[in-house]
C-alpha cells in the first residue's frame, strides 16, 4: 500500500498522523485537567460554595489557636482552619510539617467530607522565609489588608 504513495504523500500522511495524535493528547489533557485540577479554597469559599465531596481541593488558612487536638492513637490530629469569617474542622493523619503550629498559616491538600469536615492527605506549612507556598504568600497579604481594615 505504502509503496504506491508518492514521497510528498508519505510526508503528508506522517504529518497528519502526528498532528492527530497530538490533538488527541491535547484534548485528553484539557478534559482531565477540568476534572482533576485541584482548586484552592479559603474557608469562607469552602463553606459558601462547597465542592463535590470526593473532589481533591486545597484549603488554606490559619490554624486557630487552641483548636489543635491529638487523637488517642498519637498520630491523628484535628484542628480548625479559619480566615476570620468561616471555620472548617480538619482531620489529618501523619507527621506534621516542622513549622505547623497553632496561629500560623497552613495549606491542607485533601477533600471535603459529607459532614462538612475536611480530610487532609497532606499539609504544607511555611518552611522558612524563602519557601512559602504561593497561595499562602497571597493569603497573608489578604489578611494583612483585613487587619488594616479592622483597625481603622
Amino acid at each position: 500500500m505504502s509503496a504506491a504513495l508518492k514521497p510528498k504523500h508519505q510526508r503528508l500522511v506522517l504529518v497528519l498522523a502526528a498532528t492527530a495524535a497530538l490533538i488527541a493528547a491535547a484534548l485528553l489533557a484539557a478534559w482531565s485537567l477540568r476534572n482533576q485540577a485541584s482548586y484552592f479554597y479559603l474557608p469562607t469559599e469552602l463553606v459558601a460554595k462547597p465542592p463535590a465531596a470526593e473532589r481533591a481541593v486545597r484549603l488554606g488558612g490559619m490554624v486557630e489557636a487552641g483548636s489543635l487536638k491529638t487523637a488517642p492513637d498519637g498520630v491523628t490530629i484535628g484542628f480548625v482552619v479559619g480566615d476570620g469569617k468561616a471555620r472548617v474542622p480538619v482531620t489529618f493523619r501523619g507527621i506534621t510539617p516542622d513549622l505547623f503550629k497553632e496561629g500560623s498559616g497552613v495549606v491542607a491538600e485533601g477533600h471535603r467530607q459529607a459532614d462538612g469536615t475536611f480530610l487532609a492527605d497532606n499539609l504544607l506549612a511555611k518552611h522558612d522565609e524563602k519557601y512559602v507556598p504561593r497561595e499562602m504568600q497571597q493569603m497573608t497579604t489578604q489578611e494583612a489588608r483585613q487587619k488594616v481594615e479592622a483597625t481603622k
Binding site: A18, L22, D73, V75, D128
Partner: protein, 648 residues
Amino acid sequence: MIATAGLAALWFAAALAVLQLFSGFLALRQPDNPLTPVVRPLAMAQAGLVAFAFLCLIIVFVQTDLSVALVAANSHSAKPMLYKVAGAWGNHEGSMLLWVTIMALAGGFVALLEKRLPEPTLLATLGSQAFVSLGFYAFLLLASNPFARLDPVPAEGNGLNPLLQDPGLAFHPPTLYVGYVGLSVAFSFAVGALLTREVSPNFARAMRPWVLGAWIFLTLGITAGSYWAYYELGWGGWWFWDPVENASLMPWLAATALLHSVSVLASRNALRAWTVMLGVVAFAMSMVGTFLVRSGVLTSVHAFAVDPTKGTFILALLAINIGAAFVIFALRAGTVSEGQRFAIVSRESALVFNNVMLSAVLGIVLLGTLYPLVAEAMGAQVSVGPPYFNPATAVFVVPMLVVMGIGPLLRWRRDKLGRIKHFLVLPALVLAGVAIWLSLRGVHLMPLLGIALGTMLLMVALVPLKGRRLRTVTLPLWGMVVAHFGIGVALLGIACDSAFSTEKLVAARVGETVSVGPWLIRLGRIEPITGPNWTALEATLNASYGGGSTSELKPQARSFWTPVQQTNESAILTRWNGQLYTVLGEEAEDGRWQLRLWWKPFVTLIWLGGALVALGGALALLGRVLSDLRRFIAIDKIAYRRQQQGRL
C-alpha cells in the same frame, strides 16, 4: 579582589561572544573574510574565561568572603567545606553562572573537537551558540550579578537552606545542568544546519554524540534527583509531578525523541525536518524548565533558588531564542528535501510512532505544568497533581513501551510482522500469565499492567542479541539493549512500589515493637546528638526481617540554627528485595514518639533502571566516538600515504 577578577572575566567573555556571533554569521556571507579563522579560537577562549569566573565564585564561597552579597545571603563561616563549595551554585545567581559556564564549555568543546561538519555549518553553529549565550550573559551581568558587593560588610552570612545541606547538592544540579545546557548544542547544530542547508545524514552523525552526551547527563540528573528527593523529603515518594521535576522531565522526553530521530536520519536519511524541529524543541524545553524553576511562578517543593522578579527576563530570552529558531525553521523547512521512504511495518515507522508518543506525553506534561499559571491569570488558584498526570501519560506510555519492545526487532525500510512473530510468542504468554496471576492477587490495573509489561520488556529487550556472537555485538547495539532493558527494570520498580508497598504510621513507646510488611521494628532509644551546624533527636530502631537477625536504623529529627529550621532525616535499610524506610516524627504529650515506616519491595529497581538507561547511552556514545576516531585515523593515514607517494 577575586570577585572583581571574576566579574572582569565575565565581561570579557561576553565581549568575545559578541565577536563570535558577528564573525560566525559573517562567515556565512563572506567565507574568506579575515575574521573566519578566529571563530573557533574565540569559542575556546570564551570557555576558558567563563570557567575562570566560575572558579572565582567557588573561591569566594570557600573563603566565605562576606563582602560579596551572594556569599553573605547564602553562606556561613560555620558551614562544612563541601557545602561551601556546592553553595556556590545552590542559589539563583550562582546557578545561572553555572548555566553560562557549561554553555561556554560546550561551545568550546564543539570548536575544539568537531571535525565532521562542513566548516560553514560549524561556524554558523558557533554563531548561534554565541547568540544564545549572549542573552544569558546579559541576564547575569545586568540583572543577577553573582559578584555584586556589599558595603558595609556583614559580620556573618545567612547560611544555606538545611534541606540543601546534603551531598546530593554537590552532584545533582551540575549533572542536570550539563544535560539542560548540552541541548543548546543540539539547538545550535539545528540552526546552523538550517542556515547552511546542510540537513543530511552527515550532519546527524555529527550531532548525535552531543545529543547522546546531554541525554546521558539528563538521565543521570533525573535519576539522582529522584533518589535525593526520596530520602531527603521523608515522604516516601520518589516522584511528585512537581513543576520542578516536570521541568527536568520535559527536556528528557524531547531529547529521547531527538536521540531516536537523529539515529534514523544518520542511518536512513529520513525524518530530516522532524529531527531539526526536535533539536529546537528540546532546548526550548530546557529553557521552559529554567524559567519554571528560576522564576518561582509555580509552587514547588524543590524550588530553592528563586527570584520572581527575574522570571520575565528568562521568558523574554526564551521567546527571542525559540521565536528566532522557529522563524528560521519556517523559512527553511521547505528547502529541506524529503528523506528516504519507508513502509508502514518497518523500524522507521516504529521510531516515528514512539517519537509521536513521546511528543504527546511531553504535551500532556507541559499542559499540566502550565495550567496553574493560565488558571491564575484567569483568577483561579489550582494545582495539578498525580490524579491528572498518571492516567493521562499512561494512555500514551503503554503503547509506546509495547512498540519499544517490538521496534528493534524490525528491519529498516520494510518488514513483515510475520517474520518476527516467533520472537513475540513467549513474551506475550509471559505478559498474559503475569497479568492473570497478579489480578488473582487483587493488584490494581495500573501496577498490574506495569509489572506485566516490565517483565515482558526485560525479555524482548534481549532479543536483538539472539543469534549473535556476543563478542561481535557493536557497542551502540549493546547500548540500545542495555537502555531498553533499563526502562523495563525501572518500570518494574515503579509498578512494584505502587502495588506492594506497605505503610505504617504509629505513636510508639520506647521499647515497643511495631510491624510493617515482613519487618518487626523495635524502638530502642531516643537520644540527642549534635552535628557541625545542627542538633538532633536520634531514634535507634532495631529492625528484623521475618524474625531474622536485627539491623539498626537511626532516623533523626534535626534542628539547624543557621538558618533556624527543622528537617526529618529518614533512615533507609536496603535489602536485595526492597527498602525499609523510616522517619521519626514528634513526641506526643504522653511520651510516645511518632514513627512513619514503609516497606517498599523492589523500589530500588527504579533508580537501578535509570542508571542502566544512562549506561546504555554511555556505551552507545563510546561506540560512536571510537568509530569516529578510527575513521579519522584512517583518513590521516591515507592522506599521509598520498603525500609520501607524491614525494616519490
